[in-house]
Symmetry: C2
């Protein structure tokens, strides 16, 4: 009799796991349960969907239920796994349409339940016009609201990637946009000096950036009318709450599955939990950080895909490993691009690492090219060894993807002196004759 | 008494050397002799200058004679060093305006005489309408000819980067463009299968690509009327000859300076020649190839800058080294981008290296992004060790600069397994959730 794999979750980690399990073992029985309506969609694309740059929600869906069916993967939507009986290798599923509970048996179980937006317990949270953005339905709800209400005063709570990606859409539509960030600066995973460059740009574009400011509650009757903070009141008719996510791990209660950083499911390099036969992957799980040398919670779509694939392969009898992450991130905010990898200066300080940093301003192309625009680049290296530890970039089109060069260097433990005169590509439309990365390396 | 440095050559290597020497030793006496009119210009920008994308020739000039004067660097244009007396540490200079010969003494001499286009000895080479492109004056001559004669039938001889960069301008102006390449395919430093992708694109754009075809001579009365090849006759009223360059090294005759690959001046990692007190840098010199593990001749602007800087520092008493190159190159050809680094499959075969290659087609951004376009990527790794050896990219905007990731990986001797799950930047406008580089690595 063939073995059976159950996958909980139908987005990045879950569907990557199911596909990879199928490719690894053509005979494995594979069933996916997801409480959502949509599967295998690109959550990271939602800001662009809302902005109208993506024509339809179908474009966000990588593969349909029918596609998976062809692979002999059985996908059940509106099917919420409510609990796991790890002793008897069973899950209990609620059919959300029929409201019926039933059970299913597994040999291997992959938990890919993802994460949900963190929603603080504040007065007025129930008011119309307050949104989070995580699922396709969130996106559709926002689009409907924007069409119907045409809000003019937008408050974005949280100055991370998603919040700022969304700011673009509103500014283009002539809205007054306020970004409220509790931390000392936006893009809190970058250093203050780099974030400052983006702040300046956004201020010039008319976006109000309020940092070190904490939201207290929301006021209004049925619809939100203002955001009340510790600094005052901001008139508002639309709120996007994007202050991070929390892993969906309530399901593991009673299973003995250990949780790690920020209550994410603790997994090893093979995506095994501590409970036999149960793996986890994606935004519900921890990930190993190669520089911290410990398990952390950094939920990202790209990591979810990698972890899902490893979980799927191993659940199907393989022996794959995922080495880990180094905290790489990238975003486009209007015409500006920001990216980072490795450790920031603040992280080095927190970890007690002796480091040197160098920051330069250069150009994305030869100075005489019409497309040449500014790029700001910071490199961070360990003081004695010269080992590359981190990099941050803020600049115009063509700037940010240079971070991958530095991610590569950090991944393989390169030192500044190994990289300082490397043979990078040069042609006027692509870089100055000294690439900004080389200019920065030469400052050490 | 202060020491004296003479630099021969006023472009990339020479002026980088002079500047770095000044920064290394504020008291050094520094004199630059160049036979040209313009100094410190970006030769790589000339195709864009001719195409009208760069407003004036001054934009191509990084720094003027006056700028160097402020640094106390004495620059003599129209001043051709005709010979070197290395025993007595003297150079003999001809003032090209006054046609007078004079001499000057040096303690250190840097030869940065560059290269000139290779011009074959063919019948009809003297005809009007046949050009090479190397200097600003070449560019001005071409611009003048194009304005006056408005040629319609363009023959570009040589399917390398410069020839193809120039094709763009002519196609945009509605000309009939023919590229004639003696090798089996254009971009001869890439593999045939990758070059084929660009060939197909150019054919679709109406460019005639003729490979394995050798130019025999040119016919016409005073102006060129056709290119005669071993395959037939091509009506032509403008010819760009771009079949490579030869190093300007006649000057070393009698000095005992050793020449290397393709008669370029043989230099070590410190840019020393074999003659005491004489260094060389840039397109007149060899460069060490880190994978070939020998000195080769690959003249490129970016290498010239790096070598010039090392030569300048060392001539001023420093102790700098330039590790070498790995054959990185990049070009934009209309909407397409091409890049390469390390070894091609053909080079691996020539060197007897056992290799594996993988080739994938992916997208430059998430599939649902309007800017998402195709990218073709080939990776080459050593068979047993998995060491990365080479990469080639052909694709649309945003594709080619990924080569720098692979140049970084090759520089520090990374293996496929080290890189296979690395934490690259992901956000929809920048890459698919699996970056094309990761997709290709996962094929090994």
């Amino acid at each position: 009799m063939s073995k059976k794999l159950i996958v909980i979750g139908g987005v990045a980690a879950g569907m990557s796991a199911a596909s990879k399990a199928r490719r690894t073992d053509p005979n494995l029985e594979i069933t996916v349960y997801t409480d959502g309506e949509y599967i295998s969609y690109a959550g990271c694309g939602l800001p662009y969907f809302i902005g109208g740059r993506i024509a339809s929600k179908e474009d966000l869906i990588a593969r349909s239920i029918a596609d998976f069916k062809k692979q002999n993967i059985d996908v059940h939507t509106f099917s919420k796994v409510e609990s796991i009986d790890s002793d008897n290798k069973k899950v209990f599923i609620r059919d959300l349409k029929e409201n019926k509970l039933y059970e299913d048996n597994y040999d291997k179980l992959i938990i890919g339940t993802g994460a949900r937006p963190f929603v603080p317990n504040l007065d007025g949270m129930h008011l119309n016009g307050i949104f989070t953005l995580r699922t396709i339905n969130d996106g559709l709800n926002i689009i409907e609201f924007l069409k119907k209400e045409r809000p003019k005063n937008i408050s974005i709570i949280g100055g991370g990637y998603i919040g700022l990606e969304m700011a673009e859409n509103f500014v283009e539509n002539g809205c007054k946009v306020t970004v409220i960030e509790r931390a000392p600066h936006i893009i809190p995973n970058m250093d203050a000096d780099m974030a400052e460059i983006l702040t300046k740009y956004l201020l010039e574009k008319g976006v109000d950036i309020r940092t070190r400011e904490t939201v207290k509650d929301f006021s209004g009757n049925s619809s939100v009318k203002s955001v009340v903070t510790d600094q005052g009141e901001i008139p508002t008719d639309f709120v996007l709450l994007s202050i991070g996510v929390v892993p969906n791990t309530e399901i593991v209660e009673g299973t003995g599955i250990k949780l790690g950083h920020r209550n994410a499911i603790l997994v090893d390099h093979k995506m095994n939990t501590n409970v036999d036969g149960i793996l986890a992957a994606g935004d519900c799980a921890t990930v190993y950080h190669l520089i911290y040398e410990k398990d952390v919670y950094i939920p990202l779509g790209t990591t979810a895909n990698k972890q899902g694939r490893v979980a799927g392969e191993n659940a199907a009898g393989g022996n794959a490993e995922f080495k880990g992450v180094i905290g790489t991130g990238i975003a486009r905010v209007m015409e500006m691009e920001v990216s980072r990898t490795g450790l920031s200066e603040r992280e080095c300080q927190d970890l007690g690492i002796h480091y040197e940093s160098r920051k330069i301003t250069s150009l994305t192309a030869a100075h005489y090219c019409p497309t040449s625009k500014s790029i700001h680049l910071k490199l961070i290296a360990e003081r004695d060894s010269g080992r590359m530890l981190g990099a941050q970039i803020v600049g115009y089109a063509g700037a940010a993807l240079r971070i991958d060069m530095l991610a590569t260097a950090i991944t393989v433990n390169s030192t500044v002196s190994q990289l300082i005169d490397m043979d990078l590509a040069y042609s006027p439309p692509f870089s100055p004759v000294w690439d900004p990365v080389l200019i920065a390396l030469n400052q050490f």
